[in-house]
Amino acid sequence: MDEASGAPRSSLTSPSAVPASRPSLQRSPLQQTWLQLTAAVAVAILLLLLAFVVWPVLRVLATSLAGPEGLTLAHYAEFFSSWRLVRILVQSLLVAVVSTVITVAVALVLAYAVTRTDIPGKRFVSLMSLLPLISPPFLVSLAFILLLGRNGVITQALHLDWSIYGFTGIVVSQVFTFLPQAYLLLANVLGNIDVSLEEAAENLGAGPLTTLRRVTLSLARPGLASAALIVFILCMTDFGNPILIGGRYNVLATEIYAQVIGMSNFAAGATMSVVLIVPCLVAYLVNASWVGTRSYVTVSAGARAAARPMPPALRWPLFVLSGGVGLFIAVIYALIPLGSVVRHWGGDWSLSLDHYAFASSAEGAWPIWNSVRLAALAGTIGTVVALVTAYVVERTRPPGRRAIEALSLLPVALPGTVIGLGYILAFNVPPLLLTGTIWILVTSVVFWKFPVAVLAGINALKQIDPAIEEAAISLGAGTVRTFARVVLPLLTGTAFSIFVYFFINGMVTVSAVIFLIYPGFNLGSVAILNQVENGYPGVACALGTIILAIVIGSVLLLRALVGGDRVAVLKL
């Protein structure tokens, strides 16, 4: 690498006075071809994004505005004059706000305990906080049903006539489901705060609480805002938890499903979708524009991010709290395999493997095989498209690059239900007749989960010094070969991370794909929902256990293949 990075300098002394490392100034025919190629690729990506992100959203919007005689706001008038629907909107907002506040608070405590203190068991807490990241989002609900549902262990043991279904159920499930996202973000922010800032405060006479409030938390404020906004979007758009444990407490995401799939009322579903998108989009834009510019986390020279000893009065409560949350998550996930081997939860506690026979339905284990196919396809296609997009955006900077970037990130603010509805509306007619094929599922997963993958690619590219590329070019490597030989190898770790990310999402996602599955093609994650609704929690647990095993197994396998820490688990 030394040799290579020295090369551009020597090229500066060449008599042409035009550095060979600036392909834009002195173009060989091959480079010209490459430029045309990247331009063509940029156009292709833009078209893909227009087709698979913008078009479905526009179709939803159009459907919500379509009346018998052209455009109309009648559907919106209907929505806001219906007491029931307005209540659903308020309920959605309420549950999202409450879940967000609790999630961020819990995540803050955990992230603080892990990054800034010397409590024991930090690795365990950290691991447990991340576990929900790789599981179907509603497994937490399922576990709570096993604990506190009508036949739950605790409900029965205490002879309660209360059960968790409804507001409480949704909130507790969402807290544990979305904890990882908030935790990762806050741990990153808190972990980068220079410990000498806290020491300086203490040196100036501040006690631990004053230091925490005036220095540490004050530095983490942008991170907190960001975490809150992201978790708010996740809770607002969450579909799996409300549908499983919401009982009679309706939220927009589930109501859209009921309207569209239950009553085939596309106009009402589309209208609700637009209403649902608005707060999400606002939260997304606030986060992107306002919070993004306000980060204090700059790693300065000599900055140390070390854990500090805590006074016992803080240390032990922190330990109990974070350890307790970690343990509880462990229990939640232990309940799923346990539930799968208990003959009849809440009735017959004897052990059996009956649920794995999948005798209770005709579906058998096939939905899981479908999920694996979907996940593998989404992983492969998604990784290629996301990496190429990242490269085009970060390195070639074609005209329209900002548009590509913005459209790539937009799906963050799009609820899965909206994606699902949009894809039905957009792709049930030629030229893109995709309904009833696996491709509608693959594209929905790829483009809905696109933002995180593209961001990961861009970040990885940012860390690869462009000088390396320029050096390779100036050494005579064509641009094409540079990309293949120099850039790609450096990206393999990221590529595998992105693959894993798409793969996991293909395995566990529900909200978008539940609109898109077709007769004869069910998915494992959706089958879990069906089993719970049909009153077979044991079978749901069996399916959940298999999915968890596949997901965890694939992560471990890839890490073993590619080597340890080069495969990161991406968030969101």
């Binding site: 220079d194 040196n203 020279a301």
Partner: protein, 358 residues
Amino acid sequence: MRISLAGLTKRFGASTAVDGLSLEIGRGELVSLVGGSGCGKTTTLRLIAGFERPDAGEVRFDDRVVNDVAPRRRSVGIVFQSYALFPTMTVAENIAFGLRVARWPAVRIYERVAEMVALTRLGGLEGRYANQLSGGQQQRVALARALARRPEILLLDEPLSALDAKIRLRLRGEIRRIQQDLGITTLYVTHDQEEALSIADRIAVMRNGRIEQVGRPEEIYARPRTDFVADFIGISNLLACRVVSAREGLVDWEGERLRIAPDVGRDGEGILLALRPEKLAVVAERAPEDGRNRLHGVLEVVTFLGPFVRLEVAIHGRPLWVDAPHATGVGLERKKSVTLAFAPDDGVVIAATGSSAD
């Protein structure tokens, strides 16, 4: 306030960062702690501030043992190497932080901040944030913040290391002025020997977690007690000699008889003789005998260093550094033989070789 460190020891796992260190810092004195990277300077400072607890030994302020006193109750002001300014606060808020925490009345905080701003010449910058300041300005804010609460002790950890040479020189003078105006007991950590020599009342040279020598700058410079100190505080030529006659002050180096101050060491004992480059003079080969020692060698390298030339002269195959005025350097050519002279009193005898030569 007086600081006494007695047998201070701090271990990190298997390694010992500070190893039985003892040091006295008098009231109003500025002691500079110098030493190579990783020798335990920062750890010593953190032990005094209370961020680390000693594994053995005591930290005393005046005669009070403060081992168990929390950092925030020690009345110690610190300037961190990274300055550690609070990025969410303005300059004025940074300076006022300690006063707010101590619940000073608002009016007095206002007055005190104005006072500190004047003292550190920060006028006009009160409303800025740390990232809107230059390195030198940040450094002064850090100093103002540390001093605002009128601490009785000031600790500075390489306060100038992040700045460029010119600003470093100016700020060093300013720190010294402020320190003397306030008469505050100060420990100043640096790895720059020149900075230490110019700013300190006394210098403590540290090595491997221990103090190697403490003394006034001129003392340390003129009479280093170990080869390490001699080497660290300016370049020294170190000659491993054997005492021929202690009474007469006669030693043997590579077969040459050299005269040094009498009554050093015992006959037959090995000693190290330190010769500062500027104490060596280039003389004509047949210069008259003047009681100075003569050494004959070959000139190897001539380096022009602004006010003087540095010569590397090989004598018996060993290089000696000589700093000579420009005039001397003019007629010199490489690979020519030269004669060096030094007075018996200019050689500094450092410990017996058994303990210090390496």
